[in-house]
């Protein structure tokens, strides 16, 4: 497993050349993912979506979602052909309506009595894995490439183990098992996904996740120590001084808080980058492999300028920001075909229900990556 990891990590240093160029002479060349979406165009789609959603009190948001996803899918290309999204607005609207009713009931339950509220919480906890499972099915079933739909087999039992049992275990071990749980969840998602009749497989080890988390958290903690050392000295000097020093000390505390916040914000892209690379460098579709060579510095620059842009334009820069981040993430990926891409076949499968997807939308789970 580690050998694969290393051989996949190599292209990080030199993006234009890929290892597939050297081995097996008949293997096709690496196919880069291309994203042709542009901020200026997406801005127009976004603003019209937003206006119509507001005017229709949210009803149009289901159509807006389909338009948005179609834009993203149609503009994502690999090996010369694009992806396609097939979700039906009415199915999504229905899912959202049910989700909204559940949400109102859930909030109302606590108002009526804490016992009913707790019972509601328990029911939501029990239903959530099923909803996530259905939403993954819906999302994948409605995605296609070259006319072949994606899909997800995955048993309900697997969903309950990964989305209920594991989080509970993580909770009772104060988060120490989270990297393990994350690996299991990703393994479940990727192993159970398929493209037509061909299955994806996931090869990142638990050790790989721990290494990534240790690196990410380690760098973050190192930054915290530096901040504490830089400010701690002056803070100590101030404490024990007279009353005016207390004002200065509290000012310094605010400064420390901001430094920690900004540092965490800087460290986040590093973490995203490491995770996306780890996950996609270890995912295969049948015999075909993927590479992801995101660089932390670039991702960090994009995220920083995005936040500044959005803050300075009161949100109007949002669609540009979204496209920039998405473009970098998508274009960092390549498909390494082991053979011709013409040989996938479709599989007959039941469509997923939209309820799950609507609910996870409202509860704001991020199921991507």
């Amino acid at each position: 497993m580690n050998e694969h990891l290393d051989s996949n990590r190599q292209p990080d240093a030199a993006p234009p050349t890929f290892p597939t160029a050297t081995p097996a002479p008949d293997a096709p060349a690496a196919e880069r993912f291309v994203f042709t979406g542009r901020g200026s165009e997406y801005f127009r789609i976004w603003i019209v979506n937003l206006l119509l959603s507001v005017v229709t009190l949210g009803i149009y948001s289901a159509w807006a979602k389909v338009r948005r996803l179609r834009y993203f899918y149609d503009n994502t290309t690999v090996a010369g052909t694009s992806f396609d999204y097939h979700g039906k607005p009415l199915a999504i609207l229905k899912g959202r309506a049910i989700a909204l009713v559940l949400l109102v009931l859930y909030h109302g339950a606590f108002r009526i009595s804490p016992v009913i509220g707790l019972a509601g919480m328990l029911i939501v906890g029990l239903v959530t894995p099923w909803l996530i499972w259905r939403s993954l099915q819906f999302k994948l079933y409605n995605s296609s490439y070259r006319g072949i739909r994606f899909g997800m087999r995955g048993s309900l039992g697997g969903a309950y183990i990964n989305y209920l049992l594991l989080p509970i275990t993580v909770f009772f071990t104060s988060g120490l098992l989270w990297p393990m749980a994350h690996q299991r969840i990703k393994r479940f998602q990727h192993n159970e996904s398929r493209f037509g009749a061909t299955h994806f497989s996931f090869h990142a080890s638990i050790g790989g996740f721990y290494k990534t988390y240790l690196l990410g958290v380690g760098i973050w903690l190192a930054g915290l120590v530096v901040i504490m050392l830089a400010f701690g000295g002056s803070l100590l000097a101030l404490v024990g001084g007279d009353r005016t020093a207390i004002g200065a000390a509290s000012g310094l505390l605010v400064l420390v808080f901001f430094a920690v916040y900004i540092w965490s914000f800087l460290a986040l892209p590093l973490f995203f980058t490491l995770l996306q690379n780890l996950i996609w460098n270890n995912t295969r579709l049948g015999p075909h492999r993927f590479t992801s060579n995101m660089h932390w510095g670039r991702m960090f620059f994009i995220m920083l300028t995005n936040v500044i842009g959005i803050a300075c334009t009161l949100g109007l820069y949002t669609p540009f920001a979204k496209i920039r981040a998405m473009r970098y993430r998508i274009e960092s990926m390549s498909l390494l075909p082991a053979s011709d891409l013409d040989e996938f076949v479709a599989s007959a499968e039941p469509p997923g229900s939209a309820t799950g997807e609507g609910v996870t939308d409202l509860f704001d789970f991020d199921l991507s990556l």
């Binding site: 042709t36 979406g37 542009r38 165009e41 801005f43 127009r44 789609i45 603003i47 019209v48 937003l50 206006l51 119509l52 507001v54 005017v55 338009r67 179609r70 834009y71 149609d74 503009n75 290309t77 010369g80 052909t81 694009s82 396609d84 108002r111 490439y145 070259r146 006319g147 072949i148 037509g196 916040y261 914000f265 995005n306 936040v307 959005i310 803050a311 009161l314 949100g315 109007l316 949002t318 920001a321 979204k322 891409l341 013409d342 040989e343 996938f344 076949v345 479709a346 704001d364």
Partner: protein, 333 residues
């Protein structure tokens, strides 16, 4: 039709095999030729929406589709066959229409912020029974008693005198809801506030600072205004709506970023409600023939106190400035 055939990829929906074909339209029938031969009346085909750079797709009823490689030629063909983009697509692809939509959205947001949201919150609060307010405020006083407030040191007879004088006053609007005035000693200095449960809390420190029962009536009238006009419920509704919108707009980027505009807007609404409660107190003073100068003196005293301490009194945070409120009280008819 004199259109040249258009190059496309054909996918049959059963395998990922890519077939090189050309597309042509004759008398309302689309003809696919090349590696696959197929024809179909154009009214049974579905064409994907127009984007600038994305290849367009033409889908057959059975799920097979064409991915068109030359966008410009295809647009010309669509035009020739009488295909029209939907209104939404035409707006999306037109900068002038998008600009209008942007201005429309900004105006809608501004209008909602200034009028629609306060209006809607008022209507919703009216529709909600007062018992909901009471439910929300239940337990708040108990919590405050445990953490911030201590039992009042004022003699019960003095408390009784203040309350009975206040309850004897006529309210400017009839049908005031049930309320209760309680006195507490506090760690938060001179203050008075109303809870959604209808409880008006007055601190000993405020009673001592004002040292004037007429002025105290003004403070209580202001707080009764909050209760009577259901400001707490309305503010709760308004800040929830603002929070939701801010999360939609900025939540993706940063939770801290999303909370800043929500906080600023909430402060504005808070000041609006304070002015409304001041108006209620002014009206109550007029209805009972009390001198308005006494009402203004509340803010003068709080002002002088905060000037000495170089820190705004808690009573004034998220409130309009004292000068503004005094001028309003003395100036209004």
């Amino acid at each position: 039709m004199s259109q040249p055939p258009i190059a496309a990829w054909y996918f049959d929906g059963r395998s990922s095999r890519r077939h090189a074909v050309t597309l042509d339209v004759h008398d309302g029938v689309a003809v696919v030729s090349g590696e696959v031969e197929r024809s179909c009346p154009i009214d049974q085909l579905r064409v994907s929406e127009r984007f600038n750079r994305a290849a367009r797709k033409v889908t057959f009823a059975d799920g097979a589709y064409l991915e068109v490689r030359d966008g410009e030629q295809f647009s010309a063909l669509l035009q020739a066959t009488g295909h029209r983009d939907t209104t939404v697509v035409r707006i999306q692809q037109n900068w002038r229409a998008t600009l209008a939509a942007t201005i429309g959205l900004i105006m809608l947001v501004a209008l909602s912020y200034l009028y629609l949201l306060p209006l809607a919150a008022g209507v919703v609060a009216q529709a909600l029974p007062v018992s909901v307010d009471r439910q929300v405020g239940r337990g708040t006083l108990q919590f405050l008693d445990q953490h911030l407030l201590a039992p009042s040191a004022l003699p019960p007879s003095r408390q009784q005198a203040i309350v009975s004088r206040f309850t004897a006053l006529t309210t400017p609007v009839p049908d005031a809801p049930a309320y209760e005035v309680v006195f507490r000693k506090s760690r938060i200095g001179p203050n008075a506030f109303a809870l959604p449960s209808g409880t008006i809390v007055v601190t000993d420190e405020l009673v001592n600072l004002l040292d004037d029962d007429d002025a105290l009536m003004g403070v209580m009238a202001h707080e009764l205004g909050h209760v009577h006009q259901r400001h707490l419920m309305r503010r709760l509704l308004q800040s929830s709506a603002v929070g939701a919108v801010a999360t939609v707009l900025f939540g993706d980027v940063s939770a801290v970023l999303a909370s800043v505009p929500a906080l600023l807007v909430d402060m504005k609404y808070s000041r609006d409600f304070e002015r409304e409660a001041d108006d209620y107190a002014i009206a109550m003073f007029s209805a009972n023939g009390l001198p308005r100068q006494k009402l203004a003196s509340v803010f003068e005293k709080l002002d002088s106190m905060s000037a000495g301490r170089q820190q705004p009194a808690p009573y004034l945070s998220s409130h309009p400035s004292n000068e503004e409120r005094i001028a309003h009280i003395l100036g209004s008819r």
